[in-house]
């Protein structure tokens, strides 16, 4: 078994960084041996979350980690910001709900796209952790 790959921590400050972040996620996904569908799944999820950071908080960070162990391959992405937070999480995770005139599919869609989806949000700190997991 190979050593876990180094985590990559990327700043999210502009729409360009969204591209960088999802590219990094896709690349690590590929290196860990995930298939094309999984790569697309994760890249899209990262794209959604990073765009939320730009749209609602302005700046944030994206940490992409290889959390594989002996039993499973696991790639985890944590996206954090210090923005205003999400006032009503339940509503934000409902399909079709958007405070910005969007499709309202971003967060609920991301939850469906990923194997692990955790979200914590208080004013001043929002953290979303997603992961794809595959048995070895």
């Amino acid at each position: 078994m190979s050593e876990p790959l180094d985590p990559a921590s990327l700043p999210i400050r502009s729409t360009l960084d969204i591209v960088t972040a999802r590219h990094a996620a896709r690349e690590l996904c590929e290196r860990l041996g995930f298939g094309k569908a999984d790569q697309t799944r994760l890249a899209t999820a990262v794209s959604e979350l990073a765009r939320n950071v730009i749209q609602y908080a302005g700046v944030g960070t994206c940490l992409i980690e290889d959390e594989s162990d002996a039993h499973s391959r696991r790639i985890q992405v944590r996206i954090e910001d210090q923005g205003p937070g999400i006032p009503n999480l339940e509503l934000a995770l409902t399909d079709g709900y958007s405070t910005s005139g969007g499709l309202g599919a971003g967060l609920p869609g991301t939850r469906r796209l990923t194997d692990v989806f955790q979200i914590e949000s208080v004013p001043g700190s929002t953290r979303v952790t997603i992961a794809l997991v595959k048995p070895r």
Binding site: T15, T40, A43, T44, D95, G102, L103, G109, R112, L113
Partner: protein
């Protein structure tokens, strides 16, 4: 009483400048044509640096971009960055001046120590180097941004495939700006060619997320108002899966997996087809 730098400025200005220019010519300008305007700019910069050194030393030197020295330095750096010079050369030429000045300081008076002056020299050139580095990077970044803007101009062609059939191949990142531009051009072309069908090819779009989907939907809605039908092509199998998981539907849009199938469909809508030459014409 004059400080050591004031004495240097007063007594050795011309020699030091000549030394520096000579050094620059032999070290950095060998491979390039050497415009005489560069010498003048360097002399102006040299004078401004000496003037700063001759001023009152402070513990924390930070170069003010609005000061005379700041403006001269950023102008020189801007020119070098534009000529795609090596950033190490720009900073290197500053550091060359620093070592010339340090040597002159030490030679000035073998008796009394010049440690304070040397430290001040160090602080000033640290500040200058940092400033030069930052301006260099800023300018390069601006150049890159300008270039990507011109790429943007090029990257949204609307192609006329056949009478009343248009093709819009989308390539790359679809952000708000890009989407607006694409929509504008497409609508103009639809009106101009009275297009009945528009093929929207997404083969070159790397990620189809909700934001991209929303931009596409708006483009499609606007195009439909002008009386064209939309055929979407080039969504990859993974892309299709992802879109459904996200819960995005493109209701009432004809979609074909490949551009080939899309073109066939579009021609069918306008009542044409592609047939081999030797086939008998239908009566």
């Amino acid at each position: 009483m004059n400080t050591a730098f004031q004495r240097l400025q007063h007594d050795q200005r011309a020699e030091l400048l000549a030394d520096w220019l000579q050094h620059l010519t032999t070290t950095f300008d060998r491979h390039h044509a050497h415009p005489s305007s560069l010498d003048i700019q360097r002399e102006v910069l040299f004078n401004a640096i000496l003037a700063t050194l001759a001023g009152v030393p402070s513990d924390d030197f930070r170069l003010d971009p609005e000061s005379e020295l700041g403006r001269h330095l950023s102008r020189l750096i801007a020119e070098q960055a534009r000529q795609l010079a090596n950033p190490a050369d720009s900073i290197g030429s500053l550091l060359a001046l620093k070592s010339i000045l340090a040597r002159a300081l030490i030679a000035l008076d073998a008796e009394s120590p010049v440690i304070d002056e040397l430290l001040w020299l160090d602080r000033v050139f640290d500040g200058l180097s940092l400033f030069a580095f930052k301006s260099f990077v800023d300018i390069r970044e601006r150049l890159i941004a300008e270039q990507s803007l011109s790429l943007l101009e090029l990257s949204t062609p609307v192609l006329r495939v056949w009478h009343q059939v248009l093709l819009l191949p989308l390539v790359g990142v679809i952000d708000t700006q890009r989407a607006r531009q694409v929509t504008e051009r497409l609508l103009e072309s639809i009106a101009q060619y009275e297009a009945r069908v528009t093929i929207l090819d997404l083969t070159g779009v790397p990620v189809l997320d909700t934001s991209v989907a929303q931009h596409l939907m708006k483009t499609i809605d606007a195009a439909r108002l002008l009386g064209t039908r939309i055929v979407m092509t080039g969504i990859s199998p993974e892309g299709a899966q992802t879109l459904t998981k996200l819960g995005i539907r493109f209701a009432d849009v004809i979609s074909r997996a490949t551009l080939r199938a899309g073109i066939a469909e579009a021609l069918l809508i306008v009542g044409r087809r592609i047939a081999p030459l030797n086939e008998e014409r239908p009566a």
